[in-house]
Symmetry: C2
Subunit: 245 residues, 2 copies
DNA sequence: CGGTCACTTGATCGTCTTCAATACCAGTGG
DNA sequence: CCACTGGTATTGAAGACGATCAAGTGACCG
C-alpha cells in the first residue's frame, strides 16, 4: 500500500536507425523470432523511449494501444483497489514483453522502478507483423504460457505460504534470475523498495523488514545494504520457499 | 487443505466418429478456429474420455504429454505444498483448454469435481496441427492472455482482499459465468465444495462458511442449499468484490 | 436407525497488521 | 564540517482478522 506517483509525463522518444540490430534485449526477447535480415521492419515500427524512476507508463483501464519491450531497467506491474491497496503482479526486466491482452484496455499499470529503456509498438502494427512471422506468434504463446505458470506459483505463494516462506521464495527467485547479470552467485541487488516487495508478496512493509531481520539473525542471509542481499544458505532457503520449514 | 484422492484410475476412452462436429464444447472452445470442413483432422487426433468425480487426470510434475479440452462438467486445477496445503488455481468448465505450458511437465494437477467429459490430444499432434492452422494458434494466444488477466485478478484477491471481499468476488464470478447456462440470472449452483472454495480463495473452510452465513444474515445472498446460491444484492456485492466495503 | 460426511457454529489462539517511535542515509545549505 | 530535511527502513507494543481446535447439526444412505 503506497502513495501513487503522478500520471505519466510523456517521455523522450528519439528516432533510431536500426536500433533493433544492436538492442541488448534482443537475445532475451520475443524479437529474436524475427530474422536479422528482416530486422528493419521491426525497427520501423518501434519507438525507443525512456522512463524516469517512478513514471507510470501503462495505466490500468486506459485503452491498450501499445506493446512494450523492456531493454534495460526494472518495471513493476500492479493493480489497485479503490482505497489504495496495491498488489504488484510482477517485476519486468530486460527482454520482458508487456501489454499482452485481448481486452481493449490495459489490465494493470506499469511503473519504472529505476530508469527504464523500452521499445513501444503500436498494437495494430504488431498484429500485421505477427501475420507474417508465425514464429513470433509462437514465441508470444510460449511467453504467455510461461507467465501463466509463474502466475500460478504466485497464487500458491499468496494463498498458502507464510510470510517466511514468501520471503524465501522471493529471494530465491531474485537470485535465480539475477545470476545472469551477476558476478557473485550469492549476492545480488534488490532494485525494488520494501514497499514493493510487501505489495508483491501480499504483506506489509513491517512484516517484510522483520522477516528479513530474522532470516539474517538465523544466518540464512546477509543484508550488506537495504538494497542488497547475500544468500548464505541457498539450500535451506530453497526448502523454506517450497514449504519445508 | 484437503485429503487427496487416489492416483488416476485410467478412464474409459471410446473411439468416436466425427465427434467434434457435434461437440457441445466447440462453440466455446479453441476448436472453433478449425473450419467445419477440416474437422475430421481434429477428430482423428482427439480421444473422448470421461473422468469420475474425484479422479485426478493431470498430475503436477508428470510429463506433459497431452492437452485437454473440457466438453462437460467442472474441473479443479491446483498446486500442493509438500505438507498438503493446497491452492486451487482455477476451475475449468465447458470449452476450457488445459495443459498449455512450455515445460516438459505439468505445472498443476487437475481433478474432476463432478463427472467430466473431455477430449485428450497428444501434444505432438496438436503442434503439427497448429502449423497448419495459424488461426488456432492465435486463439490459443488469446486464451492464454485472458487467463493471464484472470490470474492477475486472482493475485489481487489473494494478496489484498479481505475474506468478505474474496467471497463476494467469487460469487460474482460464478454468477457471471453461470448466466450462460442458467435460467435465473440470480440463482446458480456451486459444483465445488466449501473446501474447494476455501483453497481457491486462500481461506479455511470455516471462514468460508462463516462468511457465507454472515452475507446471508445481512441479506446480500440466499443459500437455498449448501450447493446453491441466490444473489439478492448484486450491485452491493459487486462493490464489495472490488473493495468498496 | 446408526453411520458417514459435509457443513455450520462456537471458543481460543497466533500470525500478521496497525499504529507509533526511532534509526538510518543521502542530499542540501549554513 | 555539521545541522537540517525528507524519505526509507527498522523496531516495538497493541490489536484484529482469520486460523485452529472442538463440538454440534443436518442430509443422505445403507
Amino acid at each position: 500500500m503506497l502513495a501513487l506517483s503522478t500520471r505519466p509525463v510523456v517521455l523522450d522518444p528519439h528516432a533510431t536507425v536500426n536500433a533493433c540490430a544492436s538492442c541488448d534485449a534482443r537475445p532475451h526477447s520475443v524479437c529474436n523470432a524475427i530474422p536479422d535480415s528482416d530486422l528493419a521492419r521491426l525497427t520501423a515500427i518501434a519507438t525507443v523511449t525512456h522512463a524516469q524512476p517512478g513514471t507510470t507508463f501503462i495505466q490500468e483501464g486506459d485503452p491498450a494501444t501499445h506493446f512494450f519491450n523492456i531493454s534495460s531497467g526494472t518495471v513493476r506491474m500492479y493493480k489497485l483497489l479503490p482505497d489504495g491497496r496495491r498488489q504488484i503482479t510482477g517485476f519486468a526486466g530486460v527482454g520482458h514483453f508487456l501489454g499482452l491482452a485481448v481486452s481493449e484496455t490495459y489490465a494493470f499499470s506499469a511503473e519504472a522502478i529505476d530508469t527504464v529503456r523500452f521499445c513501444r509498438f503500436s498494437r495494430a502494427r504488431v498484429r500485421t507483423l505477427l501475420d507474417d512471422y508465425p514464429k513470433m506468434e509462437k514465441r508470444l504463446l510460449e511467453v504467455a504460457s510461461t507467465e501463466l505458470v509463474a502466475a500460478q506459483d504466485q497464487m500458491l505463494l499468496l494463498g498458502r505460504k507464510t510470510a517466511r516462506e514468501r520471503l524465501a521464495s522471493f529471494l530465491m527467485m531474485q537470485a535465480r534470475q539475477g545470476v545472469m547479470c551477476q558476478t557473485s552467485r550469492t549476492r545480488f541487488p534488490l532494485p525494488m523498495s520494501r514497499g514493493d516487495i510487501a505489495d508483491y508478496l501480499g504483506l506489509t512493509i513491517e512484516t517484510v523488514s522483520r522477516t528479513f531481520t530474522k532470516l539474517r539473525a538465523e544466518g540464512f542471509i546477509d543484508i550488506p545494504s537495504a538494497s542488497e542481499i547475500t544468500i548464505r544458505a541457498p539450500v535451506a532457503l530453497e526448502g523454506m520457499a517450497s514449504g519445508l520449514s
